[in-house]
Symmetry: C2
Subunit: 212 residues, 2 copies
């Protein structure tokens, strides 16, 4: 994921995931260890049930050390939510052009695979919006509108060239997105279907929902 190597706040999903899994073999710096710990805790127990003590101890430090790197618990949530949302949007924009049918299939496949692969971050992205401050929520709502627009655009294109048959455009867009978003609720590692398998299955189901 080179294209998202440097986001606004210097953090991206790959870096966080590596910090989480230790995949990079290098000792991670404190801010990333805290992000990874917060993702884990928020996904497991929810933002409100997670204490700053819990986050700090998962990252191997004292409660006070957290505040050297982040000014508040909410800011930690915001950084996670923002990088997750931006990453999703990048994944959708990276889908190759082509006929609307193939574009939609690839979008749903990528969107689903992302939610399964990054299911911990996805849970924070989709279910912890209410805990954000008003300013931070407004910032993230803008990204969410772009995500919705990406789905509505491909449906519009498919209606225009006659390859789709859709009774309600924005309702169907929402339904397609729901399919993938809900994966964050139930997916866990070690499931029968891999994230890639699930993506292919859901891409196929999505196409059947709208094709003429």
């Amino acid at each position: 994921m080179l294209s998202i190597a440097n986001l606004g706040h210097g953090v991206n999903v790959s870096a966080i995931t590596n910090a989480e899994t230790g995949a990079s073999r290098q000792p991670q710096p404190a801010p990333r260890r805290l992000l990874a710990a917060a993702i884990e805790a928020f996904a497991e127990r929810g933002y409100q049930a997670t204490t700053t003590r819990d986050i700090a101890s998962r990252a191997g430090m004292s409660p006070a050390a957290l505040y050297v790197h982040y000014p508040s618990k909410e800011r930690l949530l915001y950084e996670i939510s923002r990088s997750g949302h931006v990453d999703v949007l990048e994944v959708l924009h990276a889908v190759p052009g082509g006929p609307p049918s193939e574009r939609l299939r690839h979008m749903v496949e990528a969107f689903t695979t992302w939610h399964a692969e990054h299911h911990t971050i996805a849970r924070v992205v989709q279910y912890e919006l209410a805990a954000l401050s008003a300013d931070h929520l407004a910032d993230i709502a803008a990204v969410r509108r772009d995500i919705t627009a990406a789905f509505e655009d491909v449906l519009t294109a498919g209606l225009a060239d006659g390859s789709f048959e859709i009774a309600d455009l924005s309702g169907s867009a929402l339904a397609l997105m729901s399919l993938s978003i809900d994966v964050a609720r139930w997916f866990s590692d070690g499931r029968r279907l891999s994230p890639a398998d699930l993506g292919r299955l859901y891409g196929d189901l999505a196409l059947r929902m709208v094709k003429a």
Copy 2:
């Protein structure tokens, strides 16, 4: 909804909803006022972010009065979650028999309409399971298995008589359920589509996903 008039703990979704909206015109007894207040608060802020003071004050009483009617905040969550789950299962079992295509369409329509109509209870049902005690969660997980089985059964029937074409049965059942469950996340009153409209749209989309 006469068939669910008396659940194990003497509460059902209709009674709670009436307490919430005041639809019955009669002053509601304290336990139901508390249930309605808790549903509202849990759906709005989540279980962990909701305080017993908040619930009590929404129900028009002091914090201490709550404990006369319920032994804990978690018990309040359990009663709500349980009656919601049982109500969903009743709604699915109430779908008339017939060919698998029509049965599936009606099931998804009813399941979706329920999640939109009762979107506050639905939010608690779908997103607050982690806050339940181990015993209460086990109790509710059993009802959830029955709900999943209802969808898998109709897909199996449709495969047997050749009316469905499905690559992955349990994966497709999960996908169908996701469509409706995710409604609880985004639906709110006064939306463009009514719960009934949404149910019809989703019933149609679901059928397209699986039909031969």
